[in-house]
């Protein structure tokens, strides 16, 4: 039955080539007039390493803050019964549906009022708020499935709930932690609209803004421009190919369970 499946291979390979073609173009154009030296000259550029540093600082801080706030809330929703827990949970879930563009006007006004324009915190705050609902949801779903016997004896021994969180629940979070971190990192690293509005000073800008600046500033050198694109695209692509399972889980999870 498996013998005559060359047609199946043909279909799959044709699709794969079509989907790979723009990626190939991205790489090929990064080699125009200079080859790999384009990458070197970008690494030596006076602003590109700075953009990379900014994106790294903001992404790392957002990951940590989102994970901590989300796992604390998930812990409370999953393990405790308290007044208004259903309503609060629904309010958080509502956040899943908020499109960044629908809050961008007041967000800009707010960050400006707080004097946080061109400040890392002015981006980290909104990013944590945007990533929080999804991270909280997958963590809570995971905590719901943890056997209560793990916590039971500690409670009988009179352990404080915070100690239980740190000593028992948090270490058990590892499998789903990867998924939550990957999703937060992906949205933060790739975000463009809020980054463009909040960070106007050049030395505070994110890497996603770099190609726009580059196109405006110089007589555009295609090879260098596309090397910057590769620089933006490569980190998530590497993480994806290393952690495909967690990635796919994260991207499909919100839609199935939400």
């Amino acid at each position: 039955m498996r013998k005559n499946n060359w047609k199946d291979y043909l279909v799959l390979i044709v699709f794969t080539i079509i989907f790979a073609y723009p990626l190939y173009i991205m790489f090929q154009k990064s080699m125009i007039s200079g080859g790999f030296s384009n990458y070197v000259s970008i690494a030596m550029d006076k602003s590109i390493p700075r953009y990379l540093l900014n994106s790294t600082i903001v992404t790392a801080s957002t990951i940590i803050l989102t994970f901590l706030t989300a796992s604390l809330s998930a812990y409370a929703f999953s393990f405790f019964s308290f007044k208004g827990n259903k309503t609060l949970f629904m309010v958080f879930l509502f956040g899943l549906m908020v499109a960044p563009c629908s809050i961008v006007v007041p967000l800009f006004v707010l960050v400006k009022k707080l004097n946080l324009l061109n400040n890392y915190l002015g981006l980290i705050g909104p990013y944590v708020a945007l990533s929080f609902p999804f991270a909280m949801l997958i963590l809570k779903n995971y905590y719901d499935d943890l056997p209560r016997s793990l916590v039971e004896s500690a409670r009988i021994d009179g352990c404080k709930s915070f100690k239980i969180y740190v000593k028992i629940v948090l270490p058990l979070t590892r499998p789903v932690m990867a998924v939550s971190i990957i999703m937060t990192a992906l949205t933060t690293w790739n975000e463009f609209l809020i980054a463009m509005l909040i960070m106007m000073k050049q030395n505070k800008q994110m890497i996603t803004i770099a190609p726009i600046n580059y196109m405006g500033q110089y007589q555009t050198n295609i090879g260098k421009l596309f090397s910057i694109l590769i620089l933006i695209a490569l980190p998530p692509m590497i993480v994806f190919f290393v952690m495909q399972k967690e990635f796919v889980k994260g991207i499909t999870a919100g839609s199935i369970k939400g």
């Binding site: 199946d8 799959l12 409370a76 308290f82 629908s102 196109m215």
Partner: protein, 296 residues
Amino acid sequence: MNRLTYKEKNAYFYLIPGLFFFCTFNIYPLVYNFYLSFFAWDAVSPVKEFIGFSHYKDMFTDRVFWIILKNTAIYAFVTVFVQMFLGIVIAVFLFKNLKGTNLYRGIIFVPIVIAPVAIGIVFSSMFRSFDGDFNQILRAIGLAGLAQDWLGDPKLAIYSIIGVNIWQWTGFSMVMYLSGMTSIPLEIYESAELDGASQTQSFISLTVPLLQRTHISLILLGTIGAFKVFDLVFILTKGGPYSATEFFATYIYRSSFTESRMGYGATLSVVLMILTLLISLIQIKLTGTKSQEEKS
């Protein structure tokens, strides 16, 4: 589900950090949108002028507002159905588990993880009418007559953007369908085969209807996606030519930050918010009844 929970007076403390970020940067802006939509304000002057519902009235007579609604509908409809079609077809072939399946799946999925900004710039170079890759290819294979001004033609531009979105997001429907297919019991296919059904027949009469939940999720998620689109349009056309590719996000950006009409931007945001909320409610309703069916 019967999940054991504990009484804990300190439960609220655990919610404070999350609530702080969520309320400050998510709930407050949503509420502030309503407030701002009643004022004329240029973001600089210290006074906001109260103008009541003027912005809402302006909006309904704004030619661009109707273009946005039309564009969002076209975008949602075309991207959703083309992605569903391509996704399910590719998923069926991947499901045969041929050699290299992981590689094919990986390559088709990977565009999703790349920043839309980067993708937009790659495609805008490919779309260039004089020396872009698409027209070069058409000329090379003797179809020079089909060469287009992909982004400059007001009728065509939106479909070029749609094409890029389909390229980026087909991997998502593919993966969703794959995970849906793994939950279909194989015996169903075996008995269909015994009854003499061909592969195509069992695909149409078994696979497609059995994946109904996935279809619904994809339709709703794709529709919500159409309300959010910004980066691609901003890079490829900036909403032009002549507002032909204006969408909610690009027009909110243009009104608020290019034309300094913060109140009008807020008004559009309120409408956008209400529309996404409506779709989400439909989603909850549909998926809610689905999970009840499962229980019974």
